[in-house]
Symmetry: C2
Subunit: 371 residues, 2 copies
């Protein structure tokens, strides 16, 4: 295939990822302004975009550093950024070793929740002759990872502070249990601050004051300042947003910057149309309610991707009078943008309907030494 | 990273795809023997494995050719095989043009369901100075793609037979509406044969006898001979199998050849363990029943991946007494193997617990010119 970017969106081979550059930039600006206004450090999670291009745009707007989950994300982002947080347990020795092998110019911090993780990371850090910062991860209600008692968290912080190669830098949590609409988060945010404030006291009493309290997520990001203990936020999805983010009120549908470009390939079966974006192009991520489908057309919001095979998405017209022809090109807003991006290797950037540029998704990929 | 294959499975960086070579070969042998015994042409769908290595093994065992969905699959497989079927509407001109640009040594057939698709494909075929075979796709109950009346199918076949660049070769269907257990398929298989036999009569009467009747899918594959009109079968999943295939009875759990290798990264939250395989490593493909999770441990079948984030899978122990330690490595049988494979770039092949070889998943990938 040619290396030239097609001149028109219609000439892009589908399925493909398309980002509206005006919307992307507005999303980046809004987050940067919010963080600056409230004196919060913004350390965006790159899992959503997995791209150096977007990471650089975040850093230009003042992001404190970047957050990564996988070694590959960390390796790619360490080329762009000298302050990388890996918010994932550094378990299984190749993972800790790959992290410790990041360029020595990069400040590396890792969030972890077990002595074993600390021990493995410390060994890798010493072998690489570097010091690695550590956030002790707390479970504050999501029940995924994280130390579940403050006593245990303080004990782990003490272990970290005493072991060669590591440096205790703070505490981290992920408020993944707060998925309510923004306006319904009061009680849970209040409980969060209450728990954090008490935990902070205990850390101070133990002589281990956390320099950083790292939290945040896209659904809660605009209310982070209402949890005053938090000093750093790590939202990911806000760069592109998606249907799920719209339902939380953390963005409007006009803030959804990424769509999956798809072509109508069949209208044979009456009452529906089939596009070339199925589960291998959109991801099979459900909305909360039944019957909400797997994506929604940008320009015909009544029309949803009602069911999917691997390479087929079946459009249901809902209340729309729109009826497409075979060959028509549509843009689908995915339910969960992070999972959709993970399925592609390249993004097309458009402005005002014109293709302006494209960029690779360098940090995706799973395989031999690329997890 | 080193290009050397690790010597032990435990040294593979997780998450990773692992294929049991004995099971893979037994699955391939069984299908080849079944097709030969019943005089059926086997044209496996490569969407499941997307790998030249597995395609070559299918062809060595007598597969008539290969079935593909995407242009990239067709381009990769045309290097291995001189008889490629693209079972996907060739809509949007780059798609038809990429197919027509396959090596002229490859016999190319395309399944389609609209005059517009035939017209676009014919133009691309003529521009490439080749003839492309066509299967007219019928909807026999799945209601995805396919012409819905026999009259319309005959008319489309006539259009194909009269247009320069195309050759009418037969009819195709996908029995995706038959997802019952094998033993419960009688009524639907009988209805299928009844419809096909009547359609065949009409094609014969119209002077357009289909040379090929192409059907088949993994859930129905072992009963294909009970639908005597069918001459060619196109199963995909059977090479690896998965939890869903087990529920249909088309394989046993001992025939599941592919697992996702994962590491236990946290046991902080009591009553569960967290592995490094989430929705970006397993796919979020549901089983039929609720509470069945997104994957099952190969060696502890009571233990399922009960919920997932992008990079976390939460194991629920069910009736199992097994309790893992942080760092333990497990193998997860995915619900839907085709979607899991699409997330990776490389497969590790093991035999008797030893890593024997690995191979790339060349035909995956979505991006610039690679859909």
């Amino acid at each position: 295939m040619s290396d030239e970017l097609p001149s028109r969106l219609e000439a892009v081979e589908t399925p493909a990822l398309v980002v509206d550059l005006d919307r992307l930039e507005a999303n980046l600006d809004r987050a940067a302004e919010y963080a600056a206004r409230h004196g919060l450090q913004l350390r965006p999670h790159v899992k959503t975009h997995k791209s150096s291009f977007v990471a650089a745009a975040q850093l230009r707007r003042g992001a404190r550093g970047l957050t990564c989950a996988t070694p590959r994300e960390a390796e790619v982002m360490a080329e762009e950024c000298d302050d990388v947080l890996v918010a994932y347990p550094p378990i299984a020795s190749p993972r800790a070793r790959r992290l410790a092998a990041l360029p020595p110019t990069a400040r590396l911090t890792v969030a972890l929740d077990s002595e074993q993780a600390a021990t493995e990371l410390a060994r890798a850090a010493r072998d690489a002759r570097r010091e690695v910062g550590v956030y002790v991860e707390l479970d504050l209600g999501m029940h995924r990872v994280g130390v579940t008692s403050v006593d245990a968290a303080v004990a782990l912080a003490r272990h970290v502070s005493e072991i060669d190669g590591l440096r205790f830098d703070g505490i981290a949590f992920y408020p993944g249990h707060i998925r309510e609409a923004m306006t319904d988060q009061d009680a849970k945010l209040e409980a969060l601050e209450h728990t954090l404030a008490r935990a902070m006291e205990r850390f101070h009493d133990a002589g281990l004051p956390p320099r950083v309290v790292s939290g945040g997520s896209t659904p809660t990001m605009w209310r982070t300042h209402e949890v005053p203990s938090v000093t750093e936020m790590r939202p990911g999805t806000y760069v592109y947003n998606d249907r799920t983010t719209v339902t939380t009120g953390a963005c409007t549908s006009e803030d959804c910057a990424l769509t999956v470009l798809a072509t109508v390939v069949s209208t044979s079966v009456s009452g529906q149309a089939v596009i070339d974006a199925g589960s291998k192009a959109l991801g099979r991520e459900p909305m909360r309610g039944p019957g909400e489908g797997f994506g929604q057309l940008l320009n015909h919001p009544d029309v949803i991707v009602e069911r999917m095979s691997e390479e087929h998405g079946v459009l249901e017209f809902g209340g729309s009078a729109w009826r497409p022809n075979v060959g028509d090109v549509v843009q689908v807003v995915p339910n969960h943008v992070c999972v959709a991006v993970h399925l592609y290797d390249f993004v097309y950037g458009v402005r005002g309907g014109h293709l302006e540029r494209g960029w690779p998704i360098e940090a995706r990929g799973r395989g031999r030494g690329s997890a």
